[in-house]
């Protein structure tokens, strides 16, 4: 548990230094990448060369600089309405990271609470929560999304809610399983026998041991949400145009893959990079969080 406590302690420089020292080159690379992506996203209004929604109908589908017919000043070319790909990618990255972060945090809060509750409480509470989980798992999520978006409208807020809803049942199911497993462990039984309150057990004994599955599920969920958003765009259910997200750009651009592939390649590569950074960092944190894997 030492690892977690140290990384959460106020002594940030120490913690970071220890993190860095412990990392493989790939992990260091991912960390830098993650920082750069977040900075780009935050700064996108400042660094984007053009209005992401500004069209130029007479210079549609221009390739990136360096190719024939490229349009000066448009580094990554233009899209199907003559909008600057680079600006759209930057703004898209910003919104995509926001959606994914909000979606996975909300999903974690709902699912994590319910999962641990089910695991600790057992009995009727467990049955009820798991029935809800089973129901959600058994109904194709695209359908849930279609109905929610029709009934509640197509706003960004609804989109966040829909994206969060896709993840909660996974947290719940996994954390319930892990909690149940832990509840059988001698040290928790001992704590209970010693009269610790459920809340104390949860905080001091469960949570540290649940960090590993939480982190893994969080990183999966984060990339999952990015992909889900692109699938919704594929089905015409994503964020409303002209708003750019990476998923929406890929979804709307797919018809141009045979002819103007850069329209899809740029946002797809960004999705790839984001996912790579998130998952590598996730694996790293997970390994560090897992006390058994500390260097012996």
């Amino acid at each position: 548990m030492a690892a977690i406590e140290s990384s959460l302690s106020p002594n940030w420089t120490m913690a970071l230094r220890s993190l860095w020292a412990d990392a493989t080159p790939v992990q260091r690379f991912a960390l830098i990448l993650g920082v750069v992506l977040v900075l780009l996203a935050v700064a996108s209004p400042l660094i984007a060369p053009f209005d992401p929604n500004g069209q130029s109908l007479l210079s549609r589908l221009r390739p990136p600089l360096g190719f024939e017919r490229a349009k000066p000043g448009y580094l990554l070319g233009t899209d199907e309405l003559g909008r600057d790909m680079l600006s759209r990618c930057l703004y898209g990255l910003r919104l995509t990271l926001t959606l994914a972060a909000l979606g996975s945090v909300i999903g974690l809060c709902i699912g994590g609470t319910l999962g641990v509750l089910a695991g600790v409480a057992g009995g009727r509470t467990d049955t009820a929560i798991m029935a809800a989980v089973d129901t959600q798992i058994a109904v194709p999520f695209t359908l849930i999304a279609i109905f929610l978006l029709t009934i509640l409208g197509h706003s960004i807020e609804v989109m966040v809610f829909v994206l969060a809803l896709d993840g909660w049942e996974k947290y719940a199911r996994i954390l319930r399983g892990e909690t149940r497993k832990l509840m059988q462990m001698p040290f928790i039984e001992a704590a209970r026998a010693a009269g610790a309150t459920p809340l104390r057990i949860a905080r001091h004994h469960l949570l540290p041991n649940l960090m590993s599955p939480i982190v893994v599920q969080f990183t999966l969920s984060f990339s999952n949400i990015i992909l889900l958003e692109s699938t919704l765009s594929f089905l015409g259910l994503g964020v409303q145009p002209p708003t750019a997200t990476l998923g929406a750009m890929v979804g709307a651009g797919r018809d141009y893959m045979p002819t103007q592939p850069w329209i899809v390649i740029a946002p797809a590569v960004l999705i790839l990079i984001v996912t790579f950074a998130v998952q590598t960092l996730g694996d790293w944190l997970r390994d560090r969080a897992d006390v058994r894997l500390r260097p012996r």
Partner: protein
């Protein structure tokens, strides 16, 4: 699969050794049902012409109305409202039944005196003037109109009055002597007509197989069989054509034409389709009641720029709700719709537009380039100061009082302005009864003259009056006739013909040739 192919090849060898030709088509969409009577969708229109015949055919190679005998060999008006038709003898349906006057009367009256709800709906907007049909003898029938009808041939050439077999249809379910609703429902899954291709397999929404009908009364079908499969993704359709899995594909967007042109073993054919993509505006929305706001919305849209950018200049931008397929009623001189951003700004000022948000609803995929056009329109509106938001939803919102503007299409259901503008914008018609379009007595009077006058000039001037009304208080802006393309492998020769309604896949004799080398 392989064995199946061998078996087919063997059969083909025995039956028609020289010209065994099968065509595979990948279509963006395949109908959910096949009944020409109740259908007027763009998807459905693709499939009826090969299987069914009307009483009166036309020369489909030209946009002009040249009527030629179909299942009727001659037709004469015996008074203002009655037409007598001699039926072709020796016609058989694809199930072997001989076609008689009973079948024809049954087919016509299933629409004219419809009892089946989907027929009633289709009948009301275009066949309202027909009272019924009756048998005179085995090969003679009469059709009675309610009022003198200027468009007899046109309205007997319609897909809705294609001829179907009576006994077969009635016998599909329940009592074989009675036409129940369930008979028509069953018919739409196993349709039978008199055309050159029989539907030999139909999986709704997925696949359709036509087989040559050797008992066809006219020129024999040039193909042994045609298989149409639904392949919704354009990348997959193009690839299937390239690999040779299919011989022909539908719905090639203008942006893909360069790719097709660059491939030596395929080519594309297209035409500006007899259909308008339109923008409709809700006259009765509280914020759009002032006609000047809607005029500005219309004036702000540079349709030529849309054509140049999205359609490579191949679409047709109309000056009024007219297209050359209308023949004598084609009126390109009328200037109902134009691009004038300065005037748009002035009108917005006059009307006191305060920057409220106008929503533009669109389906994400239904109209080629529809979503792109919506976004371009949003930008053009912004140029004149109109603030807007796009709402993408497959739901039809044309009947929603909250709807402000959205895209739609006004297809030409038959070659007359009545078959396009007339169906959609009639007094009491769909647009009005959906609550987004108003008419008054003067409009109705003009409409009546346009619809029923037997004098072409009267019809023209009445139509001009209607267009004038549309200009003053606009409910609609026709954007363009989209340029629709099909691509096929080298060796397949097919073009969309000007005499057809939009999207018809005509594989009859003379319409397609396929070299058998493949």
């Amino acid at each position: 699969m392989k064995r199946l192919l061998t078996a087919t090849a063997l059969t083909a060898l025995m039956v028609a050794p020289a010209f065994a030709t099968d065509l595979n088509v990948a279509a963006a969409n395949v109908s959910s049902y096949l009944d020409p009577g109740r259908d007027h969708s763009n998807v459905g229109s693709q499939f009826y012409f090969n299987t069914f015949d009307p009483l009166i055919h036309k020369d489909y190679s030209t946009a002009e109305a040249r009527w030629i005998p179909g299942l009727a060999t001659e037709w004469t008006l015996i008074d203002d409202t009655t037409m007598e038709l001699k039926l072709r003898e020796g016609v058989t349906f694809q199930n072997g039944e001989a076609m008689t006057a009973d079948d024809v009367v049954f087919s016509l009256n299933r629409m004219y005196q419809a009892t089946f709800a989907p027929y009633q709906v289709r009948s009301r907007d275009r066949l309202e003037n027909f009272a019924g049909a009756e048998k005179v003898d085995e090969y003679t029938i009469r059709i009675m109109a309610k009022r003198a009808e200027p468009l007899w041939e046109t309205l007997l050439n319609l897909q809705q009055v294609f001829i179907i077999p009576e006994d077969y249809t009635k016998g599909l379910t329940g009592d074989p002597m009675v036409a129940e609703d369930s008979d028509y429902e069953a018919f739409s899954l196993a349709p039978v007509g008199t055309g050159p291709y029989a539907v030999s397999e139909f999986v709704p929404g997925q696949k359709l197989v036509w087989t040559r009908f050797n008992g066809f009364w006219g020129d024999k079908a040039p193909l042994d069989s045609v298989t149409v499969t639904r392949v919704p993704e354009i990348a997959s359709r193009l690839t299937a054509l390239k690999t040779g899995e299919v011989d022909m594909i539908t719905n090639v967007a203008p942006d893909q034409l360069a790719l097709v042109a660059s491939e030596p073993d395929m080519h594309a054919e297209g035409s500006a389709t007899a259909l308008f993509h339109v923008m409709i505006m809700n006259m009765n929305h509280p914020k759009l009641k002032d006609a000047r706001i809607r005029q500005a919305m219309s004036l702000a849209i540079d349709r030529d720029a849309l054509d140049e950018a999205l359609w490579l200049g191949k679409a047709i931008v109309p000056s009024t709700h007219t297209m050359k397929e209308f023949g004598a009623l084609y009126m390109p001189d009328l200037k109902t719709f134009e691009y004038d951003p300065e005037k748009a700004k002035a009108l917005l000022d006059e009307a006191g537009y305060d920057g409220f948000e106008i929503t533009f609803d669109t389906d994400g995929v239904y109209y080629t380039n529809g979503l792109l056009a919506a976004q371009a329109i949003q930008e053009m509106w912004a140029e004149v100061g109109i603030n807007s938001r796009i709402d993408v939803d497959p739901k039809w919102t044309g009947n929603d009082p909250e709807m402000m503007a959205r895209n739609w299409s006004n297809p030409m259901y038959f070659a007359d302005p009545f078959g396009s503008f007339g169906v959609m914008w009639a007094p009491g018609g769909p647009s009005q009864s959906e609550g987004r379009f108003n008419t008054d007595e003067a409009y109705a009077a003009s409409w009546d003259r346009f619809r029923y006058s037997s004098d072409v000039d009267t019809r023209r001037s009445a139509y001009a009056e209607l267009m004038d009304r549309i200009q003053q208080d606009p409910p609609v802006l026709p954007l363009y006739q989209p340029y629709e393309s099909w691509a096929m492998r080298t060796g397949v020769t097919w073009v969309p013909q000007a005499g057809h309604i939009p999207y018809v896949l005509d594989f009859r004799a003379g319409a397609i040739t396929v070299d058998a080398s493949n």
